[in-house]
């Protein structure tokens, strides 16, 4: 598997695809951070300076959305672009039968390619986060506290899982479909439905199961919200959004959009500790990992016994 890993990693770093994506993401990240830092500078007088560094990632400016928004948008694209052709392009070039007639297990080919893609993505994300932090540091002139650094680390891991899921999906489709164009279209279709149309489905589902109007009881509204959220959480984009917001914003105490007044009464205002934030998003991380594993399982089942013919 090591040989596959190193070869693929070298391929990624030498490829135009990597360079172009990296440039685009850098551009997006830098402009998002720039506007965020300006917003923060503008209102630094009114807001507490605690955790101000983390706001670099979550604040949106007047013209541009926030860094995490960019990441939730571009993340799938990075994953899909890195993954959609790893198996089927080798099949159509005829290199797959040469590689698979060497003494290695077939799953090592998938694993090696996945790990190489994940490593390339990790390096990309880490350097972008560093660049963003560097720019932010210069612009707002506040160094991150150790707690903030830890949260940024967790944020990095969540992002990696998120993009890793899309990489896994891309690889799955590259196993399922013979033609690269089919696999990229299928992956993009899934991405668009999970990112854009899921809120529509969630709304329909919630209205159907627990219809509400202006006169509804609080319980009914809560139920409606609960169903809406559950459906939304099928989408990795929602999982990523909620998880990163919670981790980067220690003031966020609950994932629910609607909170009853009597629930708030008992709450002690103030930021959560990192551990508590993690507890809140733990199910999200597990769900992301599970989604990745599903992609793998299906890829294995399909690829393991398949006929490899050089055509």
């Amino acid at each position: 598997m090591r040989a596959v890993f190193w070869k693929e990693l070298a391929d990624y770093f030498g490829s135009w695809r990597f360079i172009i994506i990296f440039a685009v993401i850098c551009l997006a990240a830098l402009s998002a951070t720039y506007t965020a830092a300006q917003t923060i500078r503008g209102d630094i007088a009114q807001t507490p300076t605690e955790y101000v560094f983390l706001r670099l990632f979550t604040t949106s400016g007047e013209t541009l959305p926030s860094f995490i928004f960019f990441l939730s948008f571009f993340g799938p694209l990075i994953g899909i672009i890195f993954g959609f052709d790893v198996i089927n392009s080798e099949r159509s070039r005829g290199t797959l039968s040469r590689v698979l007639s060497q003494p290695l297990f077939r799953d090592s080919v998938i694993n090696g390619k996945f790990l190489a893609g994940l490593t390339a993505i990790a390096i990309m994300l880490a350097s972008i986060i560093l660049v963003v932090s560097g720019l932010g540091l210069r612009m707002i002139g506040v160094a991150p506290a150790p707690g903030e650094v830890a949260r940024i680390g967790v944020f990095f891991l969540i992002s990696l899982l998120y993009v890793g899921f899309w990489l896994g999906l891309g690889i799955l489709f590259s196993v399922l479909f013979r033609r690269t164009i089919t696999s990229v279209l299928a992956a993009i279709a899934i991405w668009i439905s999970l990112a854009l149309f899921i809120s529509m489905f969630a709304g329909i589902a919630a209205n159907w199961v627990a219809p509400v109007d202006q006169h509804s009881e609080a319980e009914a509204i809560l139920e409606h919200e609960r169903i809406y959220d559950s459906v939304m959480r099928i989408s990795p984009t929602t999982l990523f959004g909620e998880a990163t917001e919670t981790v980067l914003n220690p003031g966020k105490r609950t994932l629910r959009g609607v909170v009853l007044v009597r629930e708030v009464e008992g709450m002690i205002p103030g930021p959560l500790a990192l551990g508590q934030s993690l507890m809140l998003v733990w199910p999200h991380l597990v769900a992301l990992i599970a989604l990745i594993l599903i992609c793998f399982a299906v890829s294995y089942v399909r690829f393991m016994r398949e006929e490899i013919r050089a055509t």
Binding site: W6, K7, R93, G94, S97, S101, Q102, P103, T311
Partner: protein, 311 residues
């Protein structure tokens, strides 16, 4: 006793309803060059894929050096080299890098590998372009690189699927020379499939003709020729200075001769054993001189076509 290098027992492969290979029994001993012949779609490639564990047989077993190719594919792949019909390389890597990847997948230590790579590139005559990208190779150069690729892992056995397809006559005869020399010098067992009968005839110790998945004839070319075309007989072609009725009579009286036909100064003699010495004596004794005596050998083409006429 060591198991045969290749052994298939009632090997059968069905593709949704159609039988591509039909209870094939094949044995190839150490050091043999076995030619696998048959029309398009006869099942040659399918048989090779099953022997490599790249596709699973519907019934029967395929064994290489005693290892079941379906259950222990890694053991088989460790000792087997495979040149696919359409061999593909990583176009953006050099010839040397392509081979290096294969040695890494075979876990050949780096130091040993670079010597081995130089050696095989030398053998196939690609030393000068070793550091050129494979994307800029001609088809024939890629085929030769394919031979290097097969040899670099020091196999005991190689499967060559149409090794000379699409190569000019000079290049083809070079490749045939490599095949013969690797078989003779290193004792590598070879199974090759081809449509170029005279080439197969030149280098193969034994051939097998497969039609619609069934082996219809198998053995050394001369024996097949005698049995199939000559009806189990030897035939001589003789040219004399002067033929006469006496001469024909005395040839006919030689024990073992079955029939003599005469057209002008050419005689064709059929018999159930080799009677060249007796025939020349008879010619002298009748006051004539032999200009040319040739034991007629059958070309593989005749044998092959015979099967198709019968079909």
């Amino acid at each position: 006793m060591a198991p045969p290098v290749v052994e298939t027992i009632k090997l059968t492969k069905d593709y949704d309803g159609t039988r591509a290979v039909d209870s094939l029994d094949l044995r190839i001993e150490e050091g043999e060059i076995f030619g696998f012949l048959g029309p398009n779609g006869a099942g040659k490639t399918t048989t090779i894929l099953m022997l490599l564990g790249l596709t699973e047989p519907t019934l029967g077993v395929a064994k290489v050096c005693g290892h079941d190719a379906t259950r222990e594919p890694l053991k088989v792949k460790r000792i087997t080299g495979y040149l696919p019909e359409n061999v593909g390389f990583y176009e953006d890597l050099t010839a040397r890098e392509n081979l290096r990847y294969i040695t890494r997948l075979n876990r050949i230590p780096e130091r040993q590998a670079s010597g081995k790579i130089d050696e095989v590139l030398e053998i196939v005559g690609l030393s000068e372009v070793a550091d050129r990208e494979v994307g800029r190779f001609s088809r024939g150069m890629k085929r030769r690189l394919g031979m290097a690729d097969v040899l670099v892992k020091d196999p005991r056995l190689v499967f060559l699927d149409e090794p000379t397809a699409g190569i000019d006559p000079d290049g083809a005869s070079q490749i045939l020379d490599f095949i013969v020399s690797m078989s003779k010098e290193k004792g590598i067992t070879v199974l090759l499939s081809s449509h170029l009968l005279h080439q197969v005839q030149k280098i193969c110790d034994r051939v097998g003709i497969i039609v619609k998945g069934c082996m219809v004839a198998e053995g050394p070319v001369e024996r097949l020729g005698r049995e199939v075309v000559g009806g189990g007989q030897n035939a001589l072609e003789v040219q004399v200075t002067e033929s006469s009725a006496n001469l024909i009579e005395s040839i006919e009286s030689i024990p073992g001769v079955k029939a003599v036909e005469c057209s002008g100064d050419m005689l064709s003699i059929r018999g159930d054993k080799d009677v060249r010495a007796e025939v020349s004596r008879a010619i002298f004794e009748n006051g004539s001189l032999p200009l040319h005596i040739r034991a007629q050998d059958y070309t593989l083409e005749e044998i092959y076509l015979k099967y198709f006429r019968e079909e």
